[in-house]
Symmetry: C2
Subunit: 351 residues, 2 copies
């Protein structure tokens, strides 16, 4: 690792000159010729700044703390982390990731991150939930990911669950389905509430009557399968909007047992919380993807812009992200991430 000192010595100049030049703070301070020289030898020697030494003076480390839960057990985490990491790289930051199993462990981890002088925190949940920012996290720049701040003061990034409901239902309508069922989940999740609201709205807009008997909430078990089977037999739906892959699975199983084929006899749209069905069964299954990658990307962009008190530069964004609506201000409280659609063959031919 070459240091500024070495460059200075090599050229017989002072370290401060080198520092000024290499930080591009030499406008009208260092003679251009000398500056050029410095830059060249820096290049030649393969100089790389030592961010840790720098941070000792500036107390800016270029480190971002990513705090999550359940990374181990959910397939969503990867997308968020990846998006966050890509955005971090694009802004010259590096992520320190910790995953805590409880509040105590989390507090410890946050303390560790603090010791390493992270410039800000990402606080990620694995599904959208109203969340209170713990005391030990206050006072630092922070952005919530896939979570809603209970106090409504911290910026947060969340998927637009309502839009998922509307669009998924519209996809089924467009595919010609007349009797559209909603297979929801039993937990009182924001996603459950908003998606079913979207479902109702889409039906209403299309002039299709909303029947309670077509909306069921099921868990993850044998009982759920029986409930779906009963819905099949009682209501004979020809379109299914499934809260997630697990629910889509029950529909597949029920259909298979009745000699029905998805994509021919019935249409199914699922939200791809999980991956198996989408991977194996496309194009027979249509999926609406939650914008995990996008949430991660936006969250970091937001965090960095808050740290630096700058606006987000849309030109640096990957294509899918650059088309998002620009942020409302330097500290928007909430960004809704748009949806991603995959393989929209709903009710198309089977082979």
């Amino acid at each position: 690792m070459t240091t500024m000192k070495q460059i200075a010595k090599e050229l017989g100049v002072s370290v401060s000159s080198v520092s000024l030049v290499l930080n591009n703070r030499d406008h009208g301070r260092i003679k251009p010729a000398k500056a050029k020289q410095i830059r060249q030898t820096a290049e030649r020697l393969g100089y790389q700044p030592n961010p840790l030494a720098r941070s000792l003076r500036t107390s800016k480390t270029g480190l971002l703390g990513f705090i999550s839960e359940d990374v181990a057990t959910t397939p969503f985490a990867g997308g968020i982390i990846q998006g966050a990491q890509d955005a971090a790289r694009a802004s010259g930051y590096i992520m320190l990731t910790v995953n805590a199993k409880g509040a105590a462990e989390e507090e410890e981890d946050v303390a560790a991150l603090r010791r390493y002088g992270v410039d800000g925190f990402l606080y990620a949940k694995m599904y959208n939930r109203v969340t209170t920012i713990p005391d030990y996290l206050r006072g630092s720049p922070i952005v919530l990911v896939d979570a809603t701040d209970a106090d409504g003061v911290s910026p947060s990034v969340e998927p637009d669950e309502y839009l998922i409901g509307v669009d998924a239902t519209n996809a089924l309508i467009r595919a010609g389905a007349k009797r559209i069922a909603y297979i929801g989940c039993q937990d009182p999740l924001i996603a459950q509430r908003e998606r079913s609201r979207g479902y109702r709205q889409a039906l209403k807009d299309a002039g299709i009557p909303i029947l309670d008997s077509m909306m069921i909430k099921v868990g993850d078990n044998e009982r759920a399968l029986r409930d779906v089977e009963r819905l099949f037999d009682d209501e004979h739906p020809d379109g299914f909007f499934c809260f997630n892959d697990a629910r889509a699975w029950y529909v597949y199983e029920s259909a298979a047992r009745r000699g029905l084929t998805v994509g021919r006899d019935i249409s199914v749209v699922g939200v791809d919380n999980h991956l198996v069905l989408a991977q194996t069964m496309t194009p027979r299954l249509s999926t609406v993807a939650l914008p995990h990658y996008e949430m991660g990307y936006w969250a970091v962009s937001q965090l960095v812009s808050n740290i630096r008190h700058e606006h987000i530069n849309m030109n640096d964004m990957p294509e899918t992200l650059a088309s998002l609506p620009p942020l409302g201000g330097p500290y928007p409280a909430k960004i809704h991430c748009p949806l991603i659609y995959k393989e929209s063959l709903v009710g198309g031919e089977t082979d």
Copy 2:
């Protein structure tokens, strides 16, 4: 953040004394009374060492670089990361995670990690694969995760795929299955090779004839479903060892179409590369879990022990890990992680 300086000032002693005491290097150098005083005020002021400042002198940062690929698209990543992180925490390290999309990006990321002075690297693949360590990574302590070093010189941590094959097949035999099929994958993966080897061995040991017609390799598509259906109709198997969840799905679909119920009419064991089926269908589906968490944990333990030239302290391990065989030496070339079994109700009652 209180500093050593503050403590020193408060007590009217020198910073070096504080440093010695707080690093427990004061044996016979600092008077015990004074040492105690120092420790107390450190405690009282909530002193936390600044690892970055320390690293400037020691060139040890307590940072570990975690390099991976495909974090975004595989559900395995979470487990590995979680295990790695838990082990890191237990040893007082923190992980810097980067996920690169190509060799060029990876090299950049490694350079960034080097600038931050990571003490070592974890190089993780998302399925077991023979891997060459790139030049830009040489020279630092490194451990491969879910990968095999092509040169056989770097330590690596991998699952025991052969054992998976043996045990999964034995589970089916124990459940009373007589005609056991193997639904493999088409890619020439280590996992595919070793699992099928284990399958053959288990059948051989049980005196069951090995039939080529009972072993098929399928992809991820409609064609795969047809192949499985043909197997059903031609061979009428009563037990299925599935390479992964996706393959198990084809078995479920085929069975449902034939009026067969898994757990009553046929037995299925899958390797839970993915999660959906395991989550929704247990206890009807038996799964063998790959030891992702364990691999992450062991890899970091190994890396840290290499960095510090120490042996791994088994007492610090979580219970499931402490029962593993101890490592062969300070620099073992290869650790095989044991398997985890879930819900072993193969061919049990359906409800």
